[in-house]
């Protein structure tokens, strides 16, 4: 059995607040262990208070576990880094002073992945992947909510991270756009096979997007269930009849 890409071992997360003369520590997540293998679409599902976003931030390196360890390809996660790109729900994750392409270029240049013309070319390719060529040189405020989230997705994918961390990325979108984005995300996954950890509070979304659903129980957040979602019969037959571009490409490698 291959070693998982990301491993969480007995992870507990605390939240500290000082009110008055008392310093209080609240446990948000307690003793969570799981591994995520490459190309999995792992969903963190839970009610509010289940610590799913906090857990995602810990994987992102923004919060240090009070107990346990998080390792990525065997290396402990200690701080945020471009090998784990986060995508947020908030539209203000885009830099308003940069165009659509500029936002992707920013990510590539800030992380030292690419520079100058190379960065620009890679950014345009990424923007084309999410079908935004038409607005590539516009500023974020000129775009709709769905388009903004696509820019964020393009920026994340251009980084070719080891893991893509998505924190309820479609929750602020209207129902129709959300459904469309879910399908586009799956289409992109079909072509690029990235590893995904996706936080949601929608059962339907978890089952649509995920290949595996981790259910967290609230107060404090604990892992309650680890459910693998078999591909639907329709998907299986579709794959048999029409093949799968990505798996074929993998076979050629």
């Amino acid at each position: 059995m291959e070693l998982p890409l990301l491993q969480l071992n007995d992870v507990s997360l605390d939240y500290e607040d000082t009110s008055g003369n008392k310093r209080r520590r609240t446990t948000v997540v307690q003793g969570v262990s799981f591994g995520v293998s490459a190309a999995e679409r792992c969903m963190l599902l839970g009610a509010s208070g289940s610590g799913k976003s906090t857990l995602l931030k810990a994987i992102g390196g923004y919060i240090k576990p009070s107990h346990g360890s998080i390792t990525l390809s065997g290396q402990p996660v200690l701080k945020p880094g471009p090998d784990r790109v986060m995508m947020f729900q908030e539209f203000d994750q885009l830099l308003p002073w940069r165009t659509v392409v500029g936002n992707v270029v920013f990510a590539l240049e800030a992380s030292g992945k690419a520079k100058g013309k190379d960065a620009n070319d890679r950014a345009r390719t990424a923007v084309a992947k999410v079908k935004l060529e038409r607005v590539a040189d516009q500023y974020p405020h000129q775009l709709s909510g769905g388009m903004k989230q696509r820019v964020a997705l393009a920026r994340a994918l251009a980084m070719e991270p080891k893991i893509l961390l998505m924190d309820e990325p479609f929750a602020a979108l209207d129902a129709l756009t959300r459904t469309q984005m879910q399908h586009e995300l799956l289409e992109l996954w079909d072509n690029h096979r990235f590893t995904l950890i996706f936080v949601t509070h929608s059962i339907k979304e978890a089952l649509t997007v995920g290949s595996r659903v981790l259910v967290l129980s609230p107060h404090p957040g604990r892992l309650q269930a680890d459910i693998s979602c078999a591909p639907s019969k329709e998907e299986l037959i579709h794959g048999l009849l029409f093949g799968n571009a990505a798996t074929e490409a993998k076979a050629h490698d």
């Binding site: 992102g60 986060m86 908030e90 994750q93 830099l95 308003p96 002073w97 500023y139 000129q142 980084m159």
Partner: protein, 287 residues
């Protein structure tokens, strides 16, 4: 019995409506009226005409010179170079004092953001000195720095420091947590984090602070120069106004006042509005 299979799907592409329903010519005066600068010009012309008419009716150029006399004095001042010289002196001192003020404001903001005690220091100082008009410090400034550029720079810096340091801090505080996380996600830290995330994100607030500081400094300078304006034989615009009033050249006083207004407008429209159009307006972020 109704038909169970009664779904209707229409082919809309065949009946795409014309977007333009009707079209008609707009009269030329209507088109001019819709232009903002055109309406503004109209207001200015009307004011000038009123001014001229009232001054001619009053017929006392010692109390209230007419528009045409003022323009003549302005042209004369520019021609002889006296007015140009005064304006350049004022602008020179202004820019120097403004820069010193901005520098101190940045330092103060850095202290404020480094610790809680630093924040309290900045808050207290600002609460104390912000309501104090810079011009009120002129007597002590003259005592400390003498009659010269030093005193002017001192009061100018005072007029800029407090409002601008407040703008810096409120701007940086207002940077969204998401944007901060994005910056750190892509590996930015230290100076590059401040330069590439915090400053652009706080820019609307910084621009407001620069603008406010400039307006304060300009008013303060003219007022200070009215009290004393000569150092080493070259005075500023405020001095020009004061000097001409003493010589009862009232048309020149008005010419000096007009210059103060025009320079204020030029800086507002050619500098700050331009920066605004190229930055915050283009980015669609509120000021």
């Amino acid at each position: 019995m109704t038909n169970q299979n009664s779904d209707r799907i229409l082919d809309l592409s065949a009946t795409a409506p014309e977007a333009i329903v009707s079209q008609s010519e707009v009269t030329w005066w209507r088109r001019l009226y819709e232009l903002e600068w055109c309406r503004r010009l109209l207001v200015l012309v009307a004011l000038a005409v009123l001014w001229e008419a009232y001054a001619r009716w009053l017929d006392n150029s010692l109390l209230f010179p007419s528009f045409s006399e003022t323009v003549a004095a302005l042209v004369n001042g520019l021609k002889t170079g006296v007015l140009v010289d005064r304006i350049l002196t004022s602008l020179g001192v202004l820019i120097f004092g403004y820069a010193v003020g901005l520098g101190i404001a940045v330092a103060l903001a850095m202290v404020a953001m480094s610790s809680k005690l630093g924040r309290d220091l900045q808050t207290t100082l600002t609460a104390m000195f912000n309501p104090l008009p810079a011009i009120a410090l002129l007597p002590v400034a003259m005592l400390w720095f003498g009659l010269g550029t030093g005193s002017l720079v001192f009061v100018l810096a005072h007029s800029v420091i407090w409002s601008f340091s407040l703008s810096i801090i409120s701007g940086f505080d207002g940077v969204s947590p998401t944007l901060r996380m994005v910056g750190r996600n892509y590996g930015l830290r230290g100076v590059s984090y401040i330069w590439k995330i915090l400053i652009p994100a706080a820019f609307p607030s910084l621009l407001t602070g620069l603008r406010l500081g400039w307006a304060f400094a300009w008013r303060t300078l003219i007022a200070a120069e009215l009290v004393f304006g000569v150092s080493a034989g070259s005075g500023g615009l405020g001095w020009f106004i004061y000097e001409n009033k003493n010589q009862l050249e009232i048309a020149s006083v008005f010419a000096g006042l007009s210059s103060v207004i025009v320079i204020g407008l030029v800086v507002e429209y050619l500098v700050f509005r331009l920066i605004e159009a190229k930055t915050v307006r283009r980015w669609g972020v509120s000021v």
